[in-house]
Amino acid sequence: MSWSLLFFLLVGAVSLAAALGVVTSRQPVHSALFLLTNFATLAVLYITLDAQFLAAAQVIVYAGGIVILILFVIMLIGGDTNDFSAAQRAWSRTVGMALGIILLLVISYSALSRMMAPSEDTAALLQGGTPEAVGIELFTKYILPFELVALLLLVALIGALVLGRQQEGASEGIPSVKANE
């Protein structure tokens, strides 16, 4: 067994365990921290796949931005609502598990049935996803999608602002959010 395969198995196992932790944790805060672990291990896997720029972006955007945002919201609204009790049908867990297993089988079958071994020369052709290579591609061939993404982020920013605003007594700000908890 080569070292790279061993490394992949270790990191993949951690990633999978973190993914299971997200689903099975009772506290949303624990779920968020497991999610952080999952994102970090995926960033490591990106490096092994020659995607250095995306590994950095993964850490910055997901681990640094999205998880922190989720943690902030958990702190704002108090995530300790017990979701295992209310209106949970008895059969829903079994059905969910069965559907999950079916999904896994279907995806694995469709992914593996037509997958050949990676050829060494195409990997050499890729030259790695360094910031330079990705940036050149992004700012020449894909400049229009890039600008559209900027527009999308602006719309999302304004939308989040409008949705998150206090409806009445806008000047009260954060204290009234706390009072609402």
Partner: protein, 100 residues
């Protein structure tokens, strides 16, 4: 060099875990995290296939997905907060106003 199919299987398993979490959990925040996890497993697939075929377009796609995921998180969490303000609940079973 690790085979691409290993990455695909790992991504498939993580995606399944996320999808099962969406089915099983009732806390809207955790459902949200599961959706993020599924997006990430798809990103892993795209990057693995970008290496497999030796071009960068998969990685460009992942970049766009990251931006869309960031936008989705911002708007989704704002919706959650607005909902908590009105209903004092993030249990997905109680958010059923649009249910026919």
């Amino acid at each position: 060099m690790v085979e691409t199919s290993y990455y695909l299987v790992l991504a498939a398993i993580i995606f399944t875990v996320g999808a099962t979490g969406v089915l099983l959990r009732r806390n809207a925040l955790i459902i949200f995290m599961c959706i993020e996890m599924m997006l990430n497993s798809v990103n892993l697939t795209l990057i693995a296939l970008a290496r497999q075929w030796g071009n960068l377009e998969g990685q460009i796609f992942v970049f766009m997905i990251m931006a869309v995921a960031a936008a989705e998180v911002a708007v989704g969490l704002a919706i959650l907060i607005a909902n908590v303000r009105h209903r004092q609940s993030i249990n997905i079973d109680e958010i059923n106003l649009l249910k026919w």
